[in-house]
Structure formats: structure tokens, C-alpha cells
Symmetry: D2
Subunit: 201 residues, 4 copies
């Protein structure tokens, strides 16, 4: 099973990424379950803003898209800003939007039979809305959303520490991340054995 994790922090390397730290826990479990995982920090690449799969010269998306299309599972990992997904996660969603017309040999959307999962971190506020936004967008373009397929962390009400600075309830977030790993793999396996057929004509 191949998994692509897109870390949509706003910060390029080598700055520390809280989102990456929680995603790493999910990845650890995915690998334990036998998956081959690749994590990409999108901010390290020149992913041009736009809604097509190739925005021309210098665009780093086509290479990332190649990884995505070769994967069975996509994990979207994003920080929370203003109560919603990061602009980097949104930029990725817009580029995934370019896949709408793409079809496989049997006439199916190329994302059919791929499964999505989610990791969200924030200083304060929650993750459910952020997951809802991404889950819907990915389902719309053809991904299947596994049950209980996200984990998250935040600091409770008001400003405070970040994931990497804190020990607050991280055990819950990590344990939930293990469940995410098991669930995305279970659904991807089911779809590998019994794929969604091409849409009726």
C-alpha cells in the first residue's frame, strides 16, 4: 500500500512544523502496517496557485501529482488558521481540482479507489470543520473517505503552546492517529479487492 502525506504548513523547511510532528505519528503506524509512505512539505516546493494540473514553467505540482496518482492513500495534514484549513492546503485542493476531467483506462475518475485521511494541528480551536472542508473536496473529486480517519491536536480555548512545545493530551492525538492509519488501510484494501466500477453511461 502506498501513502502520500502532504504537509500543508505555511512554513518552509527547516522551520519546525507542528503538523509534521503529529503526521509523523500516523506515518509510524502506517509503516508498521506495511505501507510505503512519502511525506512532502508543500511549502518547500514552488506549487503555483491555480486550478489546473500543470500551471506551466517552474510548477512543482506535476511531480507531486505523479506521487499522488501512484498512491492508494492521501493524508492531508494542515495547520488551522482563522478556524479553517491553511491557504497551502487550499492551494493543494485547488490543484487537485484540476483532476476532475482526468479518467483512467476504464473511464473512471483517476481518484476512484483512492482513500483519504487527515491530520490537523492548531494553537486553539478545533479540527472538525477543517476536516469537513477537506473531506468534502476530496470526496467530490473522487476519493473515498475512510471512517474515523483524522486525528488532531490543539490547546483548548485561547492562545497557548504549540504541539511541539506541549504535552497536553498528546497521547489522545497519537492513539487516534494510529486508528487513522488502520482505517485508511482497511478501506484502501477493500477497494483494491473490489474496485468501484466505471460510472454507468
Amino acid at each position: 500500500m502506498k501513502v502520500l502525506v502532504l504537509n500543508c504548513t505555511l512554513k518552509p523547511s527547516p522551520e519546525a512544523s507542528n503538523t509534521e510532528a503529529l503526521a509523523a505519528e500516523v506515518i509510524k503506524e502506517l509503516e508498521k502496517l506495511g505501507a510505503k509512505v512519502k511525506m512532502i512539505r508543500v511549502a518547500d516546493y514552488n506549487v503555483i496557485t491555480g486550478s489546473k494540473s500543470d500551471m506551466g514553467e517552474g510548477d512543482a505540482w506535476p511531480a507531486i501529482l505523479k506521487d499522488l496518482l501512484a498512491s492508494d492513500i492521501l493524508i492531508m495534514a494542515t495547520p488551522t488558521w482563522m478556524g479553517t484549513l491553511s491557504s497551502m492546503a487550499m492551494r493543494v485542493m485547488e490543484r487537485i481540482n484540476g483532476l476532475y476531467p482526468a479518467r483512467d483506462k476504464e473511464g473512471r475518475p483517476v481518484t476512484y479507489n483512492k482513500v483519504a485521511g487527515f491530520v490537523v494541528t492548531g494553537e486553539e480551536d478545533g479540527a472538525r470543520h477543517v476536516v469537513a472542508e477537506m473531506a468534502h473536496g476530496l470526496m467530490d473529486v473522487g476519493f473515498t473517505i475512510a471512517p474515523q480517519s483524522y486525528t488532531y491536536w490543539n490547546n483548548g480555548p485561547g492562545p497557548g503552546d504549540k504541539y511541539l512545545e506541549s504535552n497536553f493530551r498528546k497521547d489522545w492525538s497519537i492513539a487516534t492517529g494510529k486508528l487513522v492509519a488502520a482505517n485508511v488501510i482497511a478501506v484502501a484494501k477493500a477497494l483494491k479487492e473490489t474496485p468501484i466500477p466505471p460510472p454507468p453511461k
Copy 2:
């Protein structure tokens, strides 16, 4: 394959329900594909407001829940109010919330291996946000969200006709509804043949 459709219009029978009319198109296709479908108009029953599976005397939810638990697929059908799901749909979500602790014989959430799809109608405004809210909530409690598993209709910007009064772009909504039927059945079939195993301990 058994399907439960919950029509979450605010209006009890015998008032006409636009949401029911579009849901009927999805049902037609589900039956053509061999599924056994039951549609319930929630407003016709005394579903008590609360967050448990049984709210006591007079509560109609336990009987509906029995149908839900006997089904492989749940279709949530709702009108749009104030840009989001109806309070009736939200009331259903809260009652489904009561399922969190429920486990099957093998220790899995009782909603694992069930699949969700969606129907949304509105006078104006869209459906994507409404679907995002419901899809997230159902995924959180244990449903799998099939790809491209919603259809919707509205009237474009500003107030106007309702679904039953209009012929505007209904062909698109109906064709998309057929795709919904095919997709929820395909994913439910995959999960029937290769079920999600119990969560790791």
C-alpha cells in the same frame, strides 16, 4: 443491499417535499441496482431532541435507529436553510451521535462498514457545505463516505422557484443522483466483501 433514506425536510406530510422529490430519483436508481430502499420523513415522527439513542417515552428514534442499523447504506436528504443543513438533519446527526459507544460483537463501532450518501435541495445557495457538515459527522461516528456521493439542486443566486416548481437544470441533478446510487452501492459492496477489521488495541 439495504438502504435507509432519511428525508430531513422541516415539513411533515402531507406537505410536498422538494427534497423527497430529488431523493426519489436516487432511490429509483438504487432499486434498479437491486437495493431494498426505505425512505422515512423524519418530521412525521416524534424524534425527540437529544444526544442519546433513546430519549425515553414517546421517542420515535429507537425504531428509526433499528432501520439504520439494519441498513448497509444511509442517505441523508436535507433542504438548505441559512446556508446549512436543516435543524431536522442536525437533530438526526445528534441522535446518531448517541451511537459513539455502541460496538458490534467484534468490538467495532456499529457504523463501521456502512456507507453514506447525500441529497440536498434549496431555493438558492449551494450544497457543498451542507454535504461537508453531514459527511464529516457521519465519518466521525464510523461511516465510510463514498466518492461523488451527493446530488443537489438549487435555483442559482437569489430567491426563486423550488425544485418541484421548476425545470431548471433538473436533468443534471437527476443524472448526478444516478451516479450517487452507483457509488454508494459499489463502496458498500467492497466493505461487505472486505470488512474493516476491529480497531487495534
Copy 3:
């Protein structure tokens, strides 16, 4: 200055309401600033589900609406369920929806020059999305949304204690609630002195 607080907990009295407890902090400050405040727990009344201002026999909404229309400020207080507002809050929004056609003597929507604020409590997950849903709906029907006009509390990631059982970061939620009181009153005062004129014809 008159303020109406609608507590949209799912639980009727005499059950303890966490949302009411945090709302009480905002009310304390509103009264200190000279406002006359009335709090109603909606679940204690028979507010019939629907989208009109009067749903007929037994409907408790017309009396609540009278209070709302006599107020300068509306505070919507709601628990979080499934990452969004409660079905009771949504039911209230749908009833407020019935005000769209209502005009004052000068032809303005009756909600013009009224101001809204928000209180949200939850076991886990955040409040920003919940506030966004309510703020938008109220703005759409004619309320003005004061800056920094919400406070909230939750428990951080994962299930845990409720507001009334906890001491976690409540000081932040209470201090923020005082700011809410100051801000809704400041904007209501500005609109009282310089009202929004009737819409241009």
C-alpha cells in the same frame, strides 16, 4: 440597552447547562455595563420546527420573537454537536429566517440596527466554525456582527470534562466574555445614534 440571550442547549431545565454557565459570565458583564438582559432556555418551550414566524397552535416562538424584536442585542449561546451548532440553535435560526419579509415603519428589515454576539461551549473541538455559521445567518437576515463578539470553551482534543466540571482555562473564556459584552454594547450604541437608513429603492 436590552439584550436577549437564547440558550440553545438540547437539555430542558432543570438539567445543568454548561452553555448557560458561560453565558452567565457574559450576562454579568452586560448588566454591569447597564444593559437589561433576559435569558431564555429554548428547550424549555415548545418552539415548533419550521421556517415561519408563527407555526400555529402551541408555538412558543411568537412570544420569544417579541422579546427578540424588543431587544437591541441578541446573544446566541449554543453547545457544539458534531463540530457545529446544536439542532436547537439551528431551529432558532430557521425561525429567525421567518423575519426576512418583515419591515419596520421606514421599510427596513426589522433586524437592522440590532447587534449579535455568541457563546459556544463543547466537550472537545472548537467554536470558530459554529460562530461562523450563526454570524453569517444573522448577518444575512439583517443583524450587525460586532467585532470580537464571541467567547467559547472546550476541553482540547478528545473527550473529557464539561465546562461545569472543569477549571481548565476558564479564566480565558470568562475574560473574553467580558470583551464580548463591551463590544456588542459599543456597536449597538453606535447604531442607535446613527441608524442604518432604509435600503435605497
Copy 4:
């Protein structure tokens, strides 16, 4: 009265922007009402992704921020992608996030007494959720949200024409845009005459 309109289309000039075309209708009315309006197409400038007010060398945001701080009213104009705001609008929101600590001479957030309005265009789907996201974020940082302060356009259900290619219901969107202009100016005027005082200590 000074107004800044930020057009958050993904497309740099000289590509046609549907969002700009509808925003232009709001601007026309704002100018008729005596306001001095400046529109900036964000995609034409190197607004660096990040959450601070100055992201360093080459960053175009500080100059735009200067315009924003000199304005009484901010109009956020965005296309709809994947059912939510564009990544460019989200990038702007994240940069506005950098204003949280900024205070005026009297200790108020620098955005207090500024008013926000909204323009949304999309091929399909609605605008209410998109407005909710932006209105909440701006309110959180200190803007006041005027009543009925958005207009939008889309094509109804399913893919179809764009605003500039269509004549479908544009009269509604334009008339509503005039109301937006009147309302943001009315609230900005009220706050100019009776400003929100500094937060209590």
C-alpha cells in the same frame, strides 16, 4: 469614506476575472455614495504565504496592508473553489491574522471601527459558506460585519457558464451589490461617529 477591495481570484492580470466584474458593480455604487475606492487584484502581487504582517524581502503585503489600514471598509472578493474561499483569499486572511497584536494609540485592535463586506462568484454552488468563513475571520480580528453585506453569483447546480459569459440572474446579484454598498457605508459611518472604545482593562 475609503474602501479597499481585495480581489482574490487565482488568476493574475490580464486574464479576465469574473469576481472583479461583480465587484465592479459594488464599487460603482460605493463611488456613487461618495466613497473613494481602491481595488487590488492580489494575484498580481507577490503576497508571500505566511501569518505575519511582513514576511521579508520581496513581500508585497506590507504595501497592501498600508492601504487596508488607511481604509474604513474592506471588501473581500473571492471566487468559490471546492465549495469554499480561494487559497488567495485564505492567504489574505492569514496575512490579516498578523494584525492580532497590532494596537492603535488608544490600545484598540487596529481593525476596530473598520467594516467588512463580501463579493463571491462561482461556476456552481453557493456563497453563504464562503461568506461565513471570511466574515468570521474578519470579525475575530476586529472588523464589524455590516448586515446584508454580500452579493454573489453562480450558475445553479452543475458546471456551466461563468459570470462574464452569462446573463443568468445577474440583475439580482447587481441589485444586491448596491445594497451591500449602502450597508457597509452606513455601518462605517455609525462607527466613525460613535467609535468602539478601547477594550476594558
